[in-house]
C-alpha cells in the first residue's frame, strides 16, 4: 500500500512539473502576464504539496506535512483568479479584434467604392475619346451598357462569395445583359468547365462585353466563342463571321468593334488578366480575337512569356 502511495505521489509530482513547464511555455501574450503569474504561483503551491507527500511517504519525513492542507487550499483561489483573469483577457482581445475587423472592413469598403467610381469615370473618358462620331443618345446607351456590365459582374462575384466563377456562367450573364432576343442564337459558346478566380472574372467581363456589344447593332454578324485550358493557361477564341453575303455597314471593321473597344480589350487583357491578345482576319475564319491568360496568380514583376 505504501509503495502504491509513493508511486502516486511521484506521479503527481511529475504531472505538476509538467503543468509548470506547459504554463511557462504558454505565450505570455495569450494569457497576459498577471494571469500567467497566478497560474504559475498556484502550480508552485501544488508542487510543494506533491514534494511534501513524496517526502512523507517515500522517505518517511513529514517535513512539509503541516503546510499541506493550507497550501493545497490556497492554490485553489489562485487557479480560480487565473481563470477569471484569463477570461477577461480573452474577452478584451476578442473585442479588440472585432473592432479591428470592423475598421478594416470599412477601409476596404471605402477602397472598393473609390475603385468603382474611378472605373466608371474611366469608362466615361474612354467612351468620350471614341474615334467615331456619336450622338448623345448613343453615347448614353454605350455608357449605360458598360456600367451595366460592371454591375452584372459585381452581382456575379457577390453571388459567388469569393469562390471561383464558372466561365460559361459568366459568358451567359454577359450575353444576358443585352436586350437582344436573337443574340443567344447568333453567339455559340463552347468550352470545357473552367473556374475563374474572382479577379480574373472581373478582368474578363468588360472585354467580353466589348466583343459582344457590336453584335447588337449588326444583326448579320454571328460569333463563336470557344476556349480551352492548357498548362494553366486559358485560351479564348472569339470568331466573328458575317452571316450575309453583302456587308456594307461595317466598312473596314468586319467585327464591328471600334478602335476604342479594341484599345479597352487590349488594356484589360494586358493589365488585369496579365495575358496576351492576338487579332487576325482571314477569309476562312473571319475576324478572330484570341485571348490567352494564366489561370493562376503570378507575380506582377514576371513577364507573361516567362510564366508560360
Amino acid at each position: 500500500m505504501t509503495m502504491v502511495v509513493v508511486i502516486l505521489s511521484a506521479l503527481t509530482l511529475v504531472l505538476v512539473l509538467f503543468s509548470m513547464v506547459e504554463a511557462l511555455r504558454t505565450p505570455p501574450q495569450t494569457t497576459g502576464v498577471p494571469a500567467r503569474v497566478l497560474l504559475i504561483l498556484a502550480i508552485m503551491m501544488l508542487l510543494v504539496v506533491a514534494v511534501g507527500n513524496l517526502l512523507e511517504h517515500g522517505a518517511d519525513n513529514p517535513l512539509l506535512d503541516a503546510f499541506e492542507g493550507y497550501t493545497a487550499a490556497m492554490a485553489m483561489p489562485m487557479l480560480l483568479f487565473f481563470a477569471l483573469v484569463l477570461r477577461m483577457h480573452r474577452e478584451i482581445r476578442r473585442a479588440q479584434r472585432a473592432a479591428m475587423r470592423e475598421r478594416r472592413l470599412r477601409d476596404e469598403l471605402d477602397h472598393r467604392v473609390r475603385n468603382n467610381l474611378a472605373a466608371v469615370l474611366g469608362l466615361i473618358d474612354l467612351t468620350r475619346r471614341s474615334d467615331e462620331p456619336q450622338s448623345v443618345a448613343s453615347f448614353a446607351q454605350l455608357i449605360r451598357s458598360r456600367v451595366l456590365t460592371l454591375s452584372t459582374t459585381h452581382e456575379i462575384l457577390s453571388a459567388c462569395r469569393g469562390r471561383p466563377v464558372d466561365l460559361r456562367h459568366l459568358c451567359e450573364q454577359m450575353l444576358a445583359t443585352f436586350a437582344s432576343n436573337d443574340l443567344l442564337e447568333r453567339v455559340r459558346v463552347n468550352g470545357p468547365a473552367v473556374q475563374l478566380e474572382t479577379h480574373l472574372a472581373a478582368g474578363l467581363a468588360l472585354p467580353l462585353h466589348e466583343l459582344i456589344q457590336p453584335l447588337t447593332a449588326a444583326r448579320e454578324l454571328q460569333a463563336h466563342l470557344t476556349w480551352q485550358q492548357t498548362n494553366g493557361v486559358l485560351e479564348l477564341s472569339w470568331r466573328v463571321r458575317n452571316g450575309q453575303s453583302s456587308n456594307s455597314s461595317l466598312g473596314d471593321r468586319p467585327s464591328g468593334i471600334s478602335a476604342t473597344s479594341e484599345e479597352m480589350i487590349r488594356g484589360f487583357v494586358k493589365h488585369e488578366l496579365h495575358g496576351r491578345l492576338a487579332i487576325s482576319q482571314s477569309p476562312l475564319d473571319g475576324w478572330k480575337c484570341e485571348i490567352a491568360f494564366p489561370l493562376v496568380e503570378f507575380s506582377d514583376s514576371l513577364p507573361y512569356d516567362e510564366r508560360l
Binding site: 500500500m1 502504491v4 502511495v5 506547459e22 504554463a23 493550507y70 493545497a72 485553489m76
Partner: protein
C-alpha cells in the same frame, strides 16, 4: 467527533469546499468547454480534502490511498488544462495580417 480531526485539516476542507463551489459557479458561466479540466481539478482537490478528514474515522489506509489517487488525477487534469492552454494559444500575428 470533530475533536479527532486536526484543525488544519478542517480549515483545508472548508476552504477546498468553498473554493470548489465558487469555482463551479463561476467556471460554469465561462463560455466554451475548455474549462472542464480545471473544474475537475478543483473537484478532485475537494475530494482529496474530504478523504483527508475521513481517514481519521474509517479505513485510514484506503482513504490515504484514495486521497493520493484523487491528487494524482487532479494533477493530471491540471496538466491537461495547461497543455490545452498552450495548444489553443491563438496566433496573434495571423490576426494582425491584413486581408487581401
Amino acid at each position: 467527533m470533530l475533536e479527532r480531526v486536526a484543525e488544519d485539516e478542517l480549515v483545508g476542507l472548508a476552504l477546498a469546499i468553498v473554493f470548489t463551489i465558487v469555482a463551479a459557479l463561476l467556471i460554469a458561466r465561462l463560455r466554451g468547454r475548455e474549462w472542464w479540466p480545471l473544474l475537475g481539478a478543483f473537484a478532485l482537490t475537494m475530494v482529496g480534502r474530504i478523504l483527508t478528514v475521513a481517514e481519521d474515522f474509517v479505513q485510514p489506509a484506503l482513504c490515504n490511498l484514495l486521497e493520493h489517487a484523487a491528487a494524482t488525477c487532479a494533477a493530471a487534469l491540471l496538466a491537461l488544462f495547461c497543455w490545452r492552454l498552450r495548444r489553443a494559444s491563438p496566433d496573434d500575428s495571423a490576426a494582425e495580417r491584413r486581408p487581401s
